[in-house]
Amino acid sequence: MVKISRIILLSCLLAILSFTACRKDSEDSSSDCSTLCEEISNTGTPYELEIPYFFSPPEIPQNNPLTVEGIELGRHLFWEKNLSRNNTVSCGSCHFPSASFSDNAPFSVGLNGDLTNRNSMPLVNMAWQNDFFWDGREPSLEEQLFDPVRNPIEMDLTWPEAEERIGNDPNYQEMFLAAFGTPCVDSVRITKAIAQFVRTMISGRSRFDRAYRYGELQLTQSELRGLELFLAEGGDPNIYPGGQSGGDCFHCHGGGLVQFTDFQFHNNGLDTVFSDLGRGGITGNWFEEGHFKTPTLRNIALTAPYMHDGRFATLHEVVEHYNSGGHPSPTLDPLMKFQGEGLGLSPQDVDDLVNFLESLSDDEFVNNPDFQDPH
């Protein structure tokens, strides 16, 4: 009898917990708790990504496979201004096509005119990324997508309110039914759909790719010289063993010439004193203070201004920053080997490097009609 009553008590406790359990979106506020839709498998028409032959297979979460209907729903939601409190801001407001789905301002303007605290990152080849945001605080695309909607500067809408707005729209009801099996709308389905759409945004046919990977055209002499500098070690070989008088770029921006990032976090000598701790602010590790994620260089010519705070207006300024050797700080990355003396690149070297970086722009990607605003 005692054993049975304990089982009944435990069952009651579990039942109470299951009714009050909330997902990630409730971490900030108890009023942000959502009622979740049923998870139904095998809904929608499977969609196979067209991946450039030289890309590795992307990691697609098993609980969010790509479907035609999910992607289309995600595209509508990505451009949906009703996901902001005053119906003026969508994801696309700060991640627009001409800027390779970033923003051409140091900080983006939120729904009330306030500025965000970091430069908008480009949405390029997200299916190959991990550790999202400049400080890598979100491990997956789905989890990253929870943040902007409820951010008081960006879109300032609680998830229950977002779900109600979208759920009351008959068009969205049809789209959710097609994508997820029922017309039910919740924060998980919204973020899953947008994640599906964002994963289709693949860039792999820049001018450089078309020359180097596909043999469709030839790079200019300046672009080729820039590539050479990109892959060369810095430092005068007469002074520094191993030096190649190069730009040292490949150390962080990937010698594989695929995603043009090493996916790591570095302090690249922007400051001696940090106003933004970056990765260190998330991990609490002192040796990661001032570290920020290495962004991709794909379409970099389109994403000005540069760095986590948009401090550099042009690619020339960026290259000159590295040419200067950067500023000292306790957590300066060891790859910034020439702090205090610089790389010694000539003005022509800088121009050639910039020309190479500009060859990483992919017009087909930014003009792809599948990514544009459908509203």
Binding site: S56, E59, L231, E233, P237, G242, G255, G256, T331
Partner: protein
């Protein structure tokens, strides 16, 4: 023999057959798990990233990053071996320092692996013309997102170790100088002698073989000493091969089983 006794005998025989069959099945299905763990240590103490210790010359050192590949990993049993994996990455930065393998139960006498990426997997055009980054999915140790690929000319970094040091007694906190050792190229691939270690695994059992990365040996082995006063940067170039050899030799020697 009476019918009753025949029935009893047959029953006993039947039970015996079943027991023997089950035992054989257990042996055939007898898989166990072995975990290889890797722990940076100095003088038998675990060193976390950012912790300070004194290397052989008395210079304070803080390791802030360490990653390396081990390859052709085997468990040895007498004259035979059980192959565990062709390539794995130990990423201290991300605390990915445990490798888990399913192995047949039984007794083993040692572990063997090499340090680095073997030639046939290293992305060097001349020796591996079919190499393509696209071969490796997101979970593969050789995927670009591990940040270990140099460029098409030199392939992968095999062993990377970065940190701070102070050879001039400047006395700042954190330490005033940086070092970065990135070793790679086929020349610096290291075949490590077998680690002798007896281990018996029963079915469904999990056992750990703990390794340390001896940071003292990393800077000063029995054959090579790295002098941080003037040896603080190595990025794989032929001009600096003497330092590269020290790093490769010492990093291989630094891998030891914790007994």
């Amino acid at each position: 023999m009476t019918t009753k006794n025949i029935a009893k005998l047959l029953t006993l025989i039947f039970i015996g057959i079943v027991l023997v069959s089950c035992k054989q099945d257990d042996e055939e299905e007898g898989l166990a798990k072995v975990l290889l763990t890797f722990d940076p240590r100095y003088e038998d103490e675990t060193i976390q990233l950012g912790d300070r210790f004194l290397e052989v010359h008395g210079y304070p050192v803080e390791i802030t990053s360490m990653k390396f590949y081990i390859s052709n990993i085997e468990l040895l049993s007498g004259g035979t071996s059980f192959f565990l994996s062709d390539i794995e990455i130990i990423n201290v930065d991300d605390n990915r320092v445990v490798l888990e393998f399913e192995v047949p139960s039984g007794s083993y006498s040692g572990v063997k692996f090499n340090l680095g990426v073997p030639t046939e997997m290293n992305g060097i055009e001349e020796s591996n013309p079919d190499f393509m980054m696209s071969l490796f999915d997101a979970n593969h140790p050789l995927n670009e997102d591990e940040g270990m690929y140099w460029n098409w000319n030199t392939g992968y970094r095999f062993f990377t170790c970065e940190g701070n040091c102070d050879t001039l007694d400047v006395g700042t906190n954190p330490l005033s100088m940086q070092f970065a050792f990135h070793s790679g190229t086929d020349t610096l691939y290291r075949q490590i002698p077998t680690f002798n270690h007896s281990i018996s695994l029963n079915a469904n059992q999990t056992k750990v073989i703990p390794f340390e990365i001896d940071l003292g040996t990393l800077f000063a082995s029995s054959t090579d000493t790295i002098d941080l006063r003037h040896e603080r940067a190595y990025h794989g170039h032929f001009n600096q091969l003497p330092l590269g050899l020290k790093i490769a030799n010492n990093s291989a020697a630094a891998l030891k089983i914790i007994e």
